[in-house]
């Protein structure tokens, strides 16, 4: 039986990586990811985790070292946040395009300037198009479970891609929560050993990372896009099998009291838990309202999203990032574009908040919903609202 332990979420990530028996960790510290990599270093130092730990000199090198270890078929893990994710930027594309499976936890953090170590989704959105599978999490248990699932998804012979597990910096990374830590034999049953079919091996020489002239680049890119979109099936299958072993079920898009609701709020990450309380309160007040939570960010779950919002009149999308100079929050833009061609669709409002660690309370989400409803009215000219800003 799994044990329920009160544990900081960052440490639970280390425990998940330990249970996955990772071979290589290459990481560089940055707030709010530090406790993750410190815990991993400690596990290695104590001999509890038999892994190489490469204390690299930058995040660019962290991700580069991960390319190398994945390329020889070693199970590879890293973690970062904010500026660190940005410093990895060009390397991230390579990991995905060269189909090098690995798992990275990202303790989501705002981007400079001004410098902020606190949480939002600016870093996530900046790496949106890198070709990684990306999954949001809401609480400590989900983070632990998702790290285990991420290895299985990444290494699935039908997938072979890197996976990012997003958790909100501080709001989730630094919380102490009761977490069911799985037993080793259960994890072994769920997660088979990593067998990379294309490893660098002198016995079977391969060339990895050849360059593409114009006659072949488009074909390579299309193949990548078709492949990434097709991984949704394997992701859902992994979550099904996870549920059959561990009893906890995850879906690409999840809803909360959304059935038939006229107005829907949409959130990602840990703020969804606060939003659920708001929904309960507003429901108790007799409001016809529900919540949609986006779990799978890449590949984007278009079908599931359309299904979840099809009966609503208004959809308020809450973004924790700004797409500077655009007309909506980054997630909202994608949601709008996913719905645009449908005959029957809700009107969509973009509300941005929770930037740089600013909290949004239960009452705050009620305000956000009301602002969104007003914005979505036919006569409204307002496209975007940045919530809770002092004038």
């Amino acid at each position: 039986m799994a044990k329920r332990v009160g544990m900081e979420v960052s440490l639970a990530i280390g425990e998940a990586a330990k249970l996955a028996d990772v071979d290589v960790v290459a990481a560089y510290p940055i707030t709010p990811q530090t406790h993750i990599v410190e815990h991993l270093a400690e596990l290695v130092a104590n001999g509890e985790l038999k892994s190489a730990y490469i204390p690299v000199e930058s995040e660019h090198s962290a991700m580069s070292a991960c390319l190398g270890s994945a390329a020889v078929g070693a199970r590879t893990f890293t973690a970062t946040a904010g500026q660190g994710l940005e410093l990895m930027h060009e390397v991230l594309y390579v990991a995905a395009s060269m189909q090098l499976p690995m798992v990275m936890a990202v303790a989501n953090r705002a981007l400079s300037a001004p410098l902020s170590v606190w949480g939002d989704h600016s870093d996530v959105m900046a790496v949106r198009d890198t070709g990684w599978i990306q999954i949001f999490t809401e609480n400590g248990q989900e983070v632990f479970d998702t790290v285990l699932c991420a290895f299985r998804i990444a290494e699935d012979p039908k997938v072979l891609l890197p996976v990012m597990v997003h958790l909100d910096g501080f709001h989730l990374s630094h919380m102490i929560e009761p977490i069911l830590i799985s037993e080793e034999d259960e994890v072994k049953r769920f997660l088979p050993p990593f067998k990379y079919p294309l490893a660098l091996d002198p016995k079977k020489p391969v060339t990895m990372g050849a360059f593409a002239p114009p006659v072949i680049y488009s074909e390579a890119r299309k193949a990548q896009e078709v492949h990434l979109a097709g991984t949704k099936e394997a992701i859902v299958k992994c979550w099904d099998e996870f549920a059959s072993i561990f009893g906890r079920r995850y879906l690409p898009v999840e809803t909360y009291r959304a059935e038939g609701a006229k107005t829907l709020l949409m959130t990602m990450g840990s703020f969804s838990e606060t939003a659920m309380e708001t929904i309960d309160k507003m429901r108790a007040d007799g409001k016809d309202i529900g919540l949609v939570r986006l779990r799978l960010w890449r590949p984007f779950p278009t079908t599931e999203l359309r299904q979840a919002v099809k009966d609503a009149e208004t959809l308020v999308v809450f973004d924790r990032a700004i797409s500077l100079g655009s007309q909506a929050g980054p997630v909202c833009s994608e949601v709008r574009s996913a719905l645009y061609n449908l005959e029957k669709k809700p009107r969509v409002a973009s509300v941005i908040g929770g930037l740089g660690g600013r909290d949004v309370t239960v009452a705050g989400f009620e305000e956000i919903i009301n602002i969104g409803i007003k914005m979505a009215k036919k006569e409204s000219q307002q496209e975007i609202e940045i919530f809770g800003v002092r004038e």
């Binding site: 071979d23 290589v24 290459a26 038999k50 892994s51 190489a52 490469i54 204390p55 690299v56 000199e57 930058s58 660019h60 090198s61 962290a62 580069s64 070292a65 991960c66 390319l67 190398g68 270890s69 994945a70 390329a71 020889v72 078929g73 070693a74 590879t76 060009e90 390397v91 390579v94 060269m98 050993p193 660098l200 091996d201 002198p202 079977k204 020489p205 391969v206 060339t207 990895m208 990372g209 050849a210 360059f211 593409a212 002239p213 072949i216 390579a220």
Partner: protein, 312 residues
């Protein structure tokens, strides 16, 4: 794989080509020759990590490859970091009994730009961490792949496309960055300079570097007729002249001890070397004198250091 090419000569060199013919390097490219010789010296139990640059571009256009060794290219500035991951991955897989590694040579390679400029941080990190790998820098003294732009390894007085000679400029106004010394400052067990014009000396060094326990570094002087505006048939001769004038001395630093491998008691004047390259064509006698003085000073310091280490 022999360890003593100099003593036993060319009969010891394998006829096997691991860097296959048919690649698209320019005629007379000594950098491609160096790659070929290094691959022969390393043998088949080797993984090559390549940086973006001439040697990557000439050998890997999809769907072809010139490589008969496992080879990976990812980016420009990160080969030392990628090699760190490969080495750590292999070591762990072996220690966990998941995969036998059997002394695979992990060899990171990059040009002078990928090494002394944009990749210096990754290189320094990997050296400091003590990974067991060999790093080879192909130094053709500029960013050739992108069209002969200056690097910090471009020599004083050379004309390049981003430091061109003109009415107000002699071209490169700074002195070549001393990368072997910077690498040696990391106290790694083996550092060497080499040149494919001295093929057996070079191949011996590659074998030595691949066997030491810890990081090893070889800085390879690689004549580039396209970028240096020199005659393709002069590439081997130019490499010899660089050594014989003292412009690029061949030496090793083993566990901190310097040793000169090709002694040149009577050095030729640097003008012999400079005058057959278009990149130095504009230099006046005065500037050539300046370069001569600098080469003399640095060469004397090297000899002094080597003699001191020999006596110690």
């Amino acid at each position: 794989m022999t360890e003593n090419y100099i003593a036993f000569g060319k009969r010891q060199v394998t006829k096997e080509e691991y860097f296959a013919p048919g690649h698209r390097a320019c005629i007379g490219c000594a950098e491609a020759l160096a790659v070929r010789l290094a691959a022969k010296a390393l043998g088949p139990n080797t993984i090559i990590v390549a940086a973006t640059g001439c040697m990557e571009i000439v050998a890997s256009q999809m769907p072809w490859t010139s490589w008969r060794l496992p080879w990976i290219h990812t980016l420009f500035e990160n080969t030392a970091a990628v090699a760190s991951g490969i080495e750590s991955g292999l070591r762990t897989l072996e220690s966990k009994g998941k995969k036998p590694v059997e002394g695979i040579n992990v060899v990171a390679t990059a040009g002078d730009g990928g090494t002394s400029d944009i990749g210096l941080q990754a290189l320094s990190g990997a050296l400091e961490r003590g990974h067991k790998f060999l790093y080879i820098c192909w130094d053709n003294e500029a960013y050739m792949n992108t069209g002969i732009q200056r690097s910090s390894s471009t020599p004083y007085g050379a004309s390049t496309t981003t430091a061109p000679a003109g009415k107000q400029s002699i071209g490169q106004m700074t002195w070549k960055k001393n990368l072997p010394a910077i690498v040696a400052a990391h106290n790694i067990p083996y550092v060497a300079t080499a040149c494919p014009s001295y093929p057996f000396d070079f191949m011996d060094k590659v074998v030595k570097g691949s066997k030491v326990d810890g990081p090893a570094y070889i800085h390879v002087f690689s004549v580039c007729p396209t970028g240096w505006r020199s005659a393709p048939e002069m590439s081997i001769e130019l490499g010899r002249l660089a050594v014989q004038t003292g412009v690029f001395p061949l030496f090793e630093i083993e566990n901190g001890k310097y040793k000169i491998n090709v002694n040149t008691p009577k050095r030729k004047p640097v003008a012999d070397y400079l005058k057959i390259q278009g990149r130095f064509r504009h230099l006046s006698e005065q500037e050539i004198k300046l370069i001569q003085d600098r080469v003399d000073k640095e060469y004397d310091a090297l000899v002094e250091r080597a003699e001191k280490d020999k006596a110690a």
